[in-house]
């Protein structure tokens, strides 16, 4: 995580650029310290960061949470449902009382019940977070790996290498991603690559999203490399006889960690929406495993009787994506040398 070779270097430049004449006051703080101080003062970004942490905790602790507060995510409660419309009954002992407009929310079922099956919405949302975050993080890691390697190579070597990689990035950004993604997800049969069921689906989603979204990271890394490679420490390494591999991954890479971290935080929400879209279109996770996009897809048939079935999974996506966006925006601003101290 730390950038030993360049810490003093960066400090001088950034404090100079950021604070102008105030160099003396800022000189004793590293860029990360300055950024952390700025970030801590940014209440909105802090709120985003806290929500992100809570969501991760929720996904990790899903089995515990559902044990304490809910029911197994695939346990049916059809006795609570109106067999005719599929909605949750106001009073299970008196079906004539009609459908509960709140979708059966109660102390037992915190977020109500799924239409027809009566599965506990709270448990499904909590477990849905697992899939959503797992795919989004996995895809982001893949984007970062492909994007960083290709971006750094394109930026450092330039010439034909740069042209080819940059064109490839343009092409990827111009593709109708969703169509290609549903096509790919549609043609891969179960049992492919020795994987089955949801292990295959999760792997496939991570691969598809990562494979199509890497140019966002690639472009940023390439741009940063272009400016970094002119700096003295690269020159020094080269004159000491360091090979390209050493310069790329030992000298340049540590200095790229910050922008990569910032922009991968901003890529996570995009990937969450991508995963939800694929699940919504029916090419994501297989039922009965809960996913937020899949729940919204099911709710297309029930929005007239059970509006909570639309609102709850939708809000789950919205809150998650918004939190990551706020967190990422805050990080970017905190690390931006142009923003005032």
């Amino acid at each position: 995580m730390s950038a030993p070779s360049d810490a003093p270097e960066k400090q001088v430049e950034d404090s100079g650029a950021a604070a102008g004449q105030k160099t003396s006051a800022a000189a004793n703080r590293s860029l990360r310290q300055i950024a952390w101080q700025r970030f801590r003062r940014d209440k909105v970004a802090m709120a985003g960061a806290i929500v992100v942490l809570l969501l991760i905790a929720m996904a990790v602790l899903a089995p515990l949470l559902t044990k304490l507060l809910g029911f197994p995510p695939n346990e049916f409660h059809q006795s609570l449902m109106d067999p005719l419309t599929g909605g949750a009954l106001k009073d299970p002992d008196d079906p004539a009382a009609g459908i509960d407009p709140w979708g059966g929310m109660s102390a037992e079922h915190l977020l109500g019940l799924e239409p027809v099956t009566g599965r506990d919405m709270f448990s499904r949302i909590v477990y849905g977070a697992q899939i959503s975050l797992l795919v989004a993080f996995g895809a982001t890691v893949l984007c970062v790996i492909i994007g960083t390697v290709l971006g750094i190579v394109a930026g450092y070597f330039g010439g034909v290498t740069d042209t080819i990689i940059s064109r490839a990035m343009d092409i990827f950004l111009a593709f109708p991603l969703l169509l290609f993604a549903i096509a790919l997800a549609g043609v891969i049969p179960d049992g492919a690559f020795g994987l089955e069921g949801n292990a295959l689906r999760v792997g496939l989603l991570i691969f598809i999203i990562g494979f199509f979204n890497w140019p966002y990271i690639g472009r940023i890394v390439r741009g940063q490399t272009l400016t970094l490679k002119e700096r003295e420490f690269v020159e020094a390494a080269r004159s000491l006889g360091a090979g390209s591999g050493h310069i790329l991954f030992r000298e340049l890479l540590p200095n790229l960690i910050t922008p990569i971290l910032v922009y991968s935080t901003l890529l996570i929400p995009t990937n969450i929406i991508f995963e939800a879209s694929l699940s919504f279109l029916g090419v994501g996770i297989n039922p009965p495993t809960p996913s937020w996009g899949g729940m919204l897809s099911d709710s297309l048939d029930f929005y007239t009787t059970s509006p909570h079935f639309v609102i709850i999974p939708g809000l789950a996506i919205f809150i998650t994506v918004l939190a990551f966006n706020l967190f990422g925006d805050g990080l970017r601003d905190a690390f931006d040398p142009r923003s005032s101290d």
Binding site: L179, F180, G186, V187, I188, G282, L296, P307, V310, V321
Partner: protein
């Protein structure tokens, strides 16, 4: 100027070729790499109840047992000169441009796409106008009145907008605006030339839903761009020579901001034309995107292939148009050639 255009045209043709190759790879090669046998792959093209003969016929028809290069050649040939399939004892002609033949419905894919094009086209036009005009004007006003209540409100809304998946906003508007409160009728497509008013009112909700997502991005981008250009020296010069403020903003501030916006707009419109997959699915509008989604559900591979290829063509064509517009918007392009 001419060299610029020729170069962009060449790049467009190259991009098309690559897109075609990738599509081919996804449908013909990736499944094989994933461990499917020729028979299994052919089964996916035949449809729901495949017989031995039908599978063998499909293998022959699509040359699935031939080398990859030959398969690709036949695939390309089909697009340009059409293809003939022998099917259940009779000959089926898939005339050029043959984007595939659905052996499930006994229909050519290309005419089906063309039939659905007006729906998708209407979606793109309406939503595009709303998000471009709305997003850019909100962005401009926010930049000028930076820090005002309007700025904070609209930027908050824009942040919400980029965080809301389009199928969620679509479902919300169906559940509340249409069903619970009855403010709108269920969205439906009426051909423009049949009844322009019904066309606009029927598509209003899908337009707004789709536009909201994009408008948010455009507003953020315009605001950021405007804030940057309004700090430039030539803006001060323009003000100093006594130009009216609105002229400074529109002629000197907005114009350089618009150039990147035009690029994204071209890309976005191309993507929507290639199938507003999610919006069409939510509102049950029979456009190209929904055609592809239905094909996924019924495992009708040729249809998915056709739509994917068609969508990619649209993106490339729109990119090309943007490049041409660029030469018009940005004088530097014309000079440097």
């Amino acid at each position: 100027m001419v060299t610029y255009l020729l170069r962009r045209l060449g790049a467009g043709v190259l991009l098309l070729a690559i897109v075609t190759l990738v599509t081919f790879l996804i449908f013909y090669v990736v499944p094989r790499m994933a461990g499917q046998t020729v028979q299994q792959l052919a089964t996916m093209y035949v449809g729901k109840a495949p017989t031995e003969e039908a599978i063998q016929a499909t293998i022959d028809r699509l040359n699935l047992d031939q080398p990859i290069a030959l398969q690709f050649w036949e695939f390309i040939k089909g697009i340009f000169v059409g293809a003939t399939y022998t099917f259940g004892g009779r000959e089926v002609v898939c005339s050029a441009p043959c984007f595939g033949y659905s052996f499930q419905n006994y229909t050519e894919v290309f005419p089906e796409i063309v039939n659905r094009l007006p729906v998708t086209f209407s979606m793109a036009i309406g939503a595009g106008v709303i998000w471009l005009v709305g997003g850019v004007s909100v962005g401009v006003v926010s930049a000028i009145k930076k820090g005002s209540i309007f700025d904070r409100l609209s930027m908050g809304l824009a942040l919400a907008g980029v965080s809301l998946p389009v199928f969620f906003t679509g479902l919300l508007s169906l559940a509340f605006l249409v069903h619970a409160w009855g403010l709108f009728d269920t969205p439906r497509y009426t051909p423009f030339f049949q009844d322009p008013i019904a066309w606009a009112t029927g598509l209003f909700l899908p337009w707004v839903t789709l536009a909201f997502l994009h408008a948010a991005q455009y507003a953020r981008q315009t605001r950021a761009g405007m804030l940057e250009t309004m700090g430039e020296d030539y803006i001060r010069t323009a003000r100093a020579k006594g130009l009216a403020e609105w002229k400074v903003i529109l002629k000197h501030g907005l114009r350089p901001t618009l150039t990147p916006i035009v690029t994204i707009f071209g890309l976005d419109i191309g993507l929507v034309l290639g199938g507003a997959v999610l919006t069409e699915t939510v509102f049950s509008l029979n456009g190209i995107g929904r055609y592809a989604v239905q094909a996924i559900i019924s495992q009708d591979l040729p249809v998915i292939l056709g739509v994917t290829l068609f969508g990619a063509f649209f993106v490339v064509v729109c990119n090309l148009i943007v490049d041409l517009l660029y030469a018009w918007v940005d004088p530097r392009v014309r000079v440097s050639g």
